[in-house]
């Protein structure tokens, strides 16, 4: 081994040619994307715009942003759009709460020793996963056609406790909330069940041996550990629900997409308003993803010896890594132990 006088040897890092080619392609693609997003195109009206430059009059066709950013900006924070956004958030939150609470009950029923309870839960999931959510949404919207009054009582014998007019409860919003929530429960019950059975049986036994009741065992020992398994797919479900809630516009709930659609129905600016809706969905999804990350970190307590870095810590270490790459020259001098 050739060694310099000071006992160091030159180390030549391996060249990743195919990776560099991939990076070049990606860079070209990103540049194209940025270019098209920021590009301007001539108006279809054929109007000309003229300027006087150095005493000469110069005319050119009028232009606008290809993606109508000015129109997007104009509508981005109108009260109609913001009201729609609020309704979307409410619908997502309420449907998820129904889905999670009901889903958890279904999951526990599914794991029950009682065959009746577990098959009831199974049948629920079978039914609500087996029919399209759009069909269910419409079904709940027209529920008054089946039940003009909602009655709580005992079947077969004529005992009723409460009777309410269906239309007075099932407003468009409530119908959408119930439809999305009950549908979500079917999916969430499977997520919760997978989390519950992922927790080692020894944890339950240890809790029992301390004298904990079944409820305490579930609440204090099993669920907190199941959360690690439950959270990532639940984050998925929340984000999915955010977007699925746009189906509620079909039963005239004016949520985000409903609001932008209403506006574009009036002014024919279809593309800009689709972009307005998309941008809001993206913003909320981003916020939710960040929240999910920190929630997952919280429930990872004890499961990992060293918790993963926060995104800020990771960005910092990435930047440090890239900087140090530039600082050290290729073919680093590395000290060799004698």
């Amino acid at each position: 081994m050739a060694m310099d006088g000071d006992g160091t040897v030159k180390v030549v890092p391996v060249r990743h040619y195919s990776r560099w080619a991939g990076v070049a392609c990606a860079l070209i693609f990103i540049a194209m994307l940025v270019h098209t997003l920021l590009s301007r195109v001539p108006d279809t009206t054929g109007q000309m715009v003229c300027h006087v430059v150095n005493g000469a009059r110069k005319c050119q066709p009028a232009e606008h942003w290809r993606f109508y950013w000015n129109v997007v900006g104009q509508y981005f924070t109108t009260s109609e759009v913001l009201h729609g956004l609020l309704l979307t958030l409410e619908l997502t939150a309420l449907a998820m709460i129904i889905g999670i609470v009901l889903g958890l009950v279904l999951a526990v029923m599914r794991l029950s020793h009682s065959r009746l309870l577990s098959s009831t839960a199974w049948s629920y999931t079978w039914f609500f996963r087996g029919t399209p959510v759009l069909v269910q949404l419409t079904f709940w919207y027209f529920i008054h056609a089946l039940y003009s009054n909602l009655t709580i009582g005992l079947p077969f014998v004529n005992v009723t406790f409460v009777t309410i007019n269906t239309n007075s409860i099932f407003t468009n919003f409530i119908a959408a909330m119930v439809a999305l929530g009950t549908n979500e429960a079917a999916y969430f019950s499977e997520i919760a069940r997978s989390g519950l059975i992922a927790v080692d049986e020894g944890q339950t036994e240890a809790a029992s041996s301390l004298g904990m009741t079944r409820g305490q065992t579930l609440r204090l020992v099993v669920l907190p550990q199941a959360m690690r398994v439950i959270l990532p797919p639940t984050g998925n479900e929340v984000i999915s629900m955010l977007k699925t809630s746009s189906l509620a516009m079909t039963i005239s709930v004016v949520e985000l997409f409903g609001a932008t659609s209403n506006i574009s129905a009036g002014n024919y600016e279809i593309m800009p308003l689709l972009i307005v809706a998309s941008l809001w969905y993206l913003i909320v999804t981003t916020v939710l993803s960040i929240g999910q990350y920190y929630l997952e970190r919280h429930y990872a307590k004890g499961a990992l010896r060293t918790p993963p870095p926060t995104p800020i810590q990771r960005i910092r270490s990435d930047v440090r890594g890239i900087l140090s790459k530039f600082r050290t020259k290729r073919g680093v001098q590395v000290a060799v132990a004698p």
Partner: protein, 254 residues
């Protein structure tokens, strides 16, 4: 107080048609250490789990501290206890598992306090004080903020013992407490158990540590095929076994 802590008469237990316990008789005197030895599948762990009702025995009489396990005798009938009553019974019996079963999402301190606070209803301050005292006793006072995954097997098992002791049990059950440990870590757990035995705790220990049995146990029971083959003073039973089966078992483990 002359009733034995645990008394089993003809205890039977089957899983899916396979009989694991075929009529076991056993008596555990208060303040004594009893070791259950025997080949795997002989029913030692099952017997232990029946005593704190993690498993329900099918037939026979099983009493802890004079009371029937899982039932109440009233007017010539046996009434099955409800969940709450069974939990109250279990809270008085500590159990240490082969695979520690510490609550992974709780710190060492929380593992030792959770039962005190949630089951016994102690205040958090009292529970913390007791937990720290017990952690000191098992030599882990510096680890209270750690999570179980950050501890060695021997340390985890000592925390598990502290967790069980925090409930102030009248009886401690050990289900092969050193079988999942690296050989070099076995000693630290056995030391804690010896210390506990000296303090007068009634203990039933399922173990393969014959030296521990010889040194600490007052009585040893040898189970094979779901029945007690031989029992008595460990210094006698383990050195001059009378049955052929115990002789061959001992020749394999010693």
């Amino acid at each position: 107080m002359n009733t034995p802590m645990v008394e089993a008469r003809g205890v039977h237990k089957s899983y899916a048609g396979i009989e694991v316990l075929k009529g076991v008789d056993l008596t555990v005197t208060r303040g004594e250490v009893t070791c259950l030895i025997g080949p795997s599948g002989s029913g030692k762990s099952t017997l232990l789990r029946c005593i704190n009702h993690l498993e329900k025995h099918d037939a026979g009489e099983l009493r802890v501290d004079g009371g029937l396990v899982g039932y109440e005798a009233r007017g010539g009938k046996l009434y099955e206890l409800n969940d709450k009553q069974i939990c109250a019974e279990r809270a008085q019996i500590g159990m240490v598992f082969q695979r520690f079963n510490l609550f992974q999402h709780l710190t060492v301190l929380e593992n030792v306090t959770v039962g005190q606070v949630k089951v016994k209803g102690s205040s958090v301050e009292a529970a913390n004080a007791k937990a720290r005292e017990l952690l000191t006793r098992v030599g882990l006072e510096s680890k209270e903020k750690n999570y179980p995954s950050q501890l060695s097997g021997g340390q985890q098992q000592r925390v598990a013992i502290a967790r069980a002791l925090a409930m102030e049990p009248k009886l401690m059950l050990f289900d092969e407490p050193t079988s999942a440990l690296d050989p070099e870590l076995v000693g630290e757990v056995l030391d804690v158990m010896k210390d506990l035995a000296r303090s007068g705790m009634t203990m039933i220990v399922v173990t393969h540590e014959m030296n521990f049995a010889k040194e600490v146990a007052n009585t040893v029971y040898f189970l094979d095929g779901g029945v007690i083959e031989e029992s008595g003073d460990p210094r006698v039973v383990l050195t001059t076994p009378s049955s052929e089966r115990l002789k061959s078992f001992l020749s394999k483990v010693l």
